[in-house]
Amino acid sequence: MNPPSPDASGRGASDGFGDLPAHVPATYYERPLLKKPHWEGEVIVYLFLGGIMGGSGILALLCDDHPDHDEDLARIVRYSAFVLAPASPGVLLLHLGRPERFLHMLRIFKWRSVMSMGVWGLIAFSVPATLGAGAQAARDGILWSWLDALVPRRVTDVVLGFLGAFIVGYTGVLLSATAIPLWAIGKRHIPAFCVCSGLAGACALNAAILAIGGGNERSLRKLERLEMLASAAELALLEAFRRHAGSTGDPMFTGKRGNKLRTVTQALGIVAPALLTLLPFGGRAKTLLASALTLAGGYVLRETLIEAGKASADDPRAASRQPE
């Protein structure tokens, strides 16, 4: 056998295929094994908005007509789901370069493709979002009042909740159903913390709008409490993911990206809003500040996840160890 040229990256060879000589290189000239995705800003913005959109869907289910329900909050949640329903996939369409290519996705319905499921999920979400917002507009006197009587708001809110839960979670599944090492190793953690972050973002956005409009104090407290819960779960899941990923997680949790994640997402985006919420004073301005911090943290989480995934694709050693 011709010995390959000596390679500084040589790794002990007795781990897998018998007694191969020690000079056998562990990679192919340090070349990346994978082609990394070329995803830039639009995809990050989509993941961010999609999370808030899905979270607003879940909130619509929670704010549905019940004895203690607050019409102001329900209105804001239904309208924000309605506005985000076209906005977040719209950003994705821009990313296609030729937006009309999107139509090709409508010829396909494939259970095994997360992207296909996502497209149909987004389209399905827009139906109850539109109906719910229409009925709300009728109640508010903007549209004809018979619309309110026609739309079963109970049903649209529940459907919105389930579709919202799908949309807020599927983006994580979409990432982990690839060969990108960082995303693949987080097949359970990434969808889970995407759900938490999306719901926390939706609480933050809707609380901010409610606060601007001078809404009910009790509704604000409820949103803050749910946001704190979701954020705490996100923090725990991020830490669990860091431990689980090991060295594959280095592009996300170490270096500049790791610092940004720790300061913007974890400290400013999760811990700081929680502390602000617990402060006994501050009023509306405090709510707005806490919401802005949560939203910024959610954006940086998506950005770090995407950029770190691209970096991990460049590492042939990580790519070679494909997790189950």
Binding site: F17, I58, L59, H189, P191, V195, S320
Partner: protein
Amino acid sequence: MPACAKACPTESIQFGDVDELRERAKKRVETLQARGVESYLYGADDATSVGKLNAFFLLTEKPEAYNLPERPVLPSTRQAAGYAAAAITAGALALAGLAIFRRAE
């Protein structure tokens, strides 16, 4: 026969009935090993393939040295775990949310 197999000057690329190719490859591995050259088939069994791809390699170094994954996995097999994790998280948060939002004080 594909052009690459036809044109290959060293006949390294072979084309034909896959069972027959597999037999030939196994014999070749035995010959090489008898000569003291470590070799094995990559992509011919479950450990190094994702189902019946009907294409495989005879390698003499670890897969990484050829820019191949140690043990290839179909990425789509991770979906079930991901959807389940998302559903459990969303369900737990929604239940907590129901308790927070619908508690009459």
